[in-house]
Symmetry: D2
Subunit: 358 residues, 4 copies
């Protein structure tokens, strides 16, 4: 019942605090004989790594991952992979003030109330630093899924500025610091975020992850639904406040006629759908269409403007965060969202194979 | 790894098909010596029961629940509760046409692709009939939680018509067939839904569930987050396409200043928050504020207008559903949403007690 | 974390008390399209059924099983099977005395201490009646495993009388009321047990279960070992006090030379072993040899001779059990042991397929 | 469903190969604010450490443990503990011969058949080296349990030589290299094992673990039985072939009269038992008596005498192990058995608290 683990058959357990000696994860259930090396994982970690543009925290972490177990001569052995990243740029001094004060909007207060103790250095376990291990696990999950399944995320909204979906260009995503598929909007976000950053404020975002290549039949009724597991996986990411699949909340305003994805037979005799309001899932099971999930990330709670709060001794006070922080944590959530989808799908691939064969 | 179970310590397993002899559930982990009788459960089932207004399906099911195990002389014994409801009004003839055709927007196709077989009678396992057992389990969960925790749901949107939140009146919720807290909007929905119903169409909805009385400290990092479990629980309900907590998707458009819930000390020396954008959860752990979750339900896929679809033999065809169906399944999702929150919270109450004591 | 469930992918949850209206189980994860009818299950229940000889309890239970869900037109659908057996011959009056007294050797006292309440009628949940559902689940598990895997149990010891292993004849097992593979010993046990039965005493037994046809490779390191799961499964059966695999406790007295099962290549090019001290498992993974497990069952605690005990009010007293009981519960444990092996193997078959493919 | 994890609420996940860079574990669910430092864990690791007498393998491993997460300022924070031990004395050259040959009695062949690949260096994941992390986890579990619960193991049989139980002296256990509670027998074992060691052979053993201080009420019906979990935990230890509780296999030969532990009221008004054939567990729940578990360890399979085996290419051959090995692995299994009991009990303590309160 480990609360630091997820997945049933592709099972990831993470550990580590923001300012401890290291963070890491154990991945159990990985199929044997998959070629995997540290570089395969590092590639994805580098995408999430902080300090790559002025729009993310300036903490400098090389995030160099080591594989401590589970591979032999370059391939997986079926035994658990242990991955570790040493923390390098910790600067504990930055956090001395928050020892006594709860940062509002952060987990400081809730950890305190739950455990009666908290590692206040950089948020301890609640730091977004933990998401590095999600990305590492996601890299392994992609190996399990194989090249036929393509998982790509994009930022579709920053603050109140949403992209123009008709301008969607996947190639554009790697050309700007926002993973934005709309080149024009990327330019506008740059200006918008510079303003936010300079003012010491922050802003929220919406990320969309699309998966191509999932065959029909993955997922399971009733509480093992593919979309229920995706919802949990994405909601578990730091700062996420909402998750939707396909048409999502907009489905509430649709008529039955508009919401139904009609079905036809294509030239090859296969079923094709005329639309994808379902986002690739019906009854918790994949339809074979693209899987489409979106999630909302709240603005970073660490801001320059003083906010009213209380101390651990019950005194009223104010707090202002001057440390290194992301003006929009949603940006770095893009590779994290992709990773979570990868892990959920690797898990369901095995779950489906277990019950139904290939 | 049962996909028909949920919860870790308060663990619910459901079974049964829409047109089988019965549906039921097993609830394991219930604390001993709780007074519970069939009437305690029936009360909630009656709220979800179909056929109570013209806005829900006209299937007539008394939904009489029996307790087959786990209680003795009116109190729980700590052993699993087995609950059963016999299916009465099955009318299998209504469903003969769908034996060969996949109803688009339903799980017909995905079950077929996953299992190579499906119980096509009334949707079989994928029928919303299953939610009766969620409501039954929720009634037991409420007993576990005690009277100090109050869970209430309301419909806040039907189609594109959202309530006026300033008119929110909990007393109003029980006075109209929509669980609508806004009396004026309830009137408008009545007209709106009559039109939808008569045209054989359907519409979506948004439900909001609020929980009062959850103490600070329930939930757990990182993958056992209270909001992640709520997201999975609500997304697992039939037809749900989106889940959000607190400000939810709207948080994306907020500034850090507006999103942070500032903290003060009240006259009694306790912490109070000046707002609740967090919806009662920070870092996956309850803050002690009201828990606020919302979820979107898509329009019923069974509609009168013919929709293009395919047969199990790969032929193109059309389908039109004339059977008994809900013009807005979102209405009956209100007690279901409440029940899912109750179950998640009962589970986390025990999980918290296990690790941290009372 | 349900304590009334077992198995990971082939997951069985049982419920019900000895003197409640019914007992039942839910089996989740069953592969689809397996032909299964009530008669397939009834066949095994009839083997365990009480009252078939004078050596088992005279309680008359037809143990008629009904399938309430999970099959359609005679085959499994992939959704959970719900099985139910109504309790018929309950005679609650037999148990009025034990309402106040703890029967020593029974679970009366421990349930009382754990839960502060107990259903004292016939032992409630702790009754061996629960094992009927294990046998039912085992029948389903055998369908999953297919005919290539043959699971057979035998009684190899009653009291201090062990069979002559050189006289082992599987055909003999069905010819005597003890599932004894040694015809001569069956005769001796008959006399021995008649004496025990008439004196109102009881005796223990050892059961051996052998499985033919398990391919090499099932099971998993380290805590998911096939033998570890077998040990838990057998130890969970009522009255079991010991479990061993292969040479078992006798391995302690062996030299390394005698314990090692040497390996050769047979005429067909396959690996064969020259002995089977390992009992078909090495490192928690099956070797392809016969799986051999043994378990010890203590004597029935319900005996005629008065035993010293205490009341729920802390008074010293004595108790003598005159109700219907088994002079040797080990006899009826034979089909139960087989069933547990079947369930564990069905689970591991799927677990293996999930990670490693077929 | 991680096969490298065990426990439900006190959940241990281990990783690492015998000749990889390190081994480690993650312990989730640990209650907060427990004082724990590396020295608390090291103390137990030193008891298991190889090379401490001539009767265990001469591999020299300092087994220095580091805590990488989950504590802050010397106490647990409620987040997962990550423990790591670097492998130092690996001598990979010793194992070159076994690259092509399966060592009979080892897991070489089964890992190969399961995964199609194996890390042959020192047994890889199947090495008894993994048990170091069990001991480390056990040290943490003892902290959870507190000083009121005392867990002690002893070797009660080597080869066919059993101790004289009337000579049992716990103080003696720490005075000889065998954890033997019978001083006279320790002397005889010394001679016996010297002979075994010099001849390059090996021998089996039986270990008994006793736990004092477990309150009545821990454990749970039906599949979460305390003794079922103990059976799985002990059977999962390398080379274990049998597990028993209380009278164990000897219970089969007892009469009901002799097996029943009669109950009285002691002077303080508490229940006391007149014997302990049950070994402290009835119906899967603790009675409050001493918990008594025994397990049998087979002789080390690595022996000097050549044994017939096959190669990975299906050729017949012989193998003789000249590397560093334990003449009796059962010796080092004593602290491992204690650790497993500690982990199971810590888990059940929390499980009991979750459902029933303190």
């Amino acid at each position: 019942m480990s609360s630091n683990s997820f997945g049933q058959l592709f099972r990831v357990t993470t550990w580590g605090e923001s300012h401890g000696p290291a963070i890491g994860c154990v991945i159990d259930g990985v199929p044997p004989r998959l070629p995997i090396e540290e570089a395969d994982i590092q590639k994805y970690l580098d995408r999430r790594r902080p300090g790559q543009s002025r729009f993310t925290t300036q903490r400098q972490e090389p995030d160099s991952v080591r594989i401590l177990s589970g591979t032999f001569e370059g391939v997986t052995t079926g035994t658990p992979l242990s991955l570790i990243i040493e923390n390098v740029d910790q600067r504990s001094k930055d956090y001395s003030e928050i020892k006594e004060k709860f940062r509002p909007g952060h987990a400081d207060y809730t950890y305190w109330r739950k455990y009666g103790i908290r590692d206040y250095r950089g948020g301890g376990r609640s730091s977004a630093r933990e998401t590095a291990m999600r990305v590492a696990a996601g890299a392994v999950a992609r190996k399990v899924l194989g090249d036929g399944i393509v998982i790509r995320g994009a930022l579709v909204q920053i603050g109140d500025q949403s992209i123009d979906r008709s301008a969607w260009d996947w190639d554009e995503v790697d050309r700007n610091p926002f993973w934005c598929p709309d080149a024009a909007m990327a330019k506008r976000w740059e200006q918008q975020l510079d303003k936010v950053r300079k003012s010491g404020s922050s802003t929220g975002a919406v990320i969309e992850v699309t998966v191509i290549g999932v065959p029909a039949g993955w997922g399971a009724p009733i509480y093992g639904k593919l979309d229920a597991d995706i919802a949990a996986a994405l909601m578990s990411v730091n700062a996420v406040k909402g998750v939707e699949i396909g048409a999502g909340f907009a489905a509430a305003a649709l008529s039955g006629e508009d919401n139904v994805d009609e079905m036809r037979i294509d030239n090859g005799g296969a079923v094709r759908f005329l639309s994808n309001a379902a986002g690739g899932v019906l009854g918790g099971i994949s339809t074979g269409q693209d899987l489409v999930a979106r999630f909302a990330v709240k603005p970073t709670s660490s801001i320059l403007a003083p906010r009213r709060t209380v101390t651990i001794d019950g005194e009223e006070t104010k707090i202002s965060t001057k440390g290194r922080h992301d003006p929009c944590v949603g940006i770095r959530a893009v590779p994290v969202g992709e990773a979570m989808l990868a892990c959920v799908l690797a898990d369901h691939q095995m779950r489906h194979r277990a019950q139904c064969g290939e």
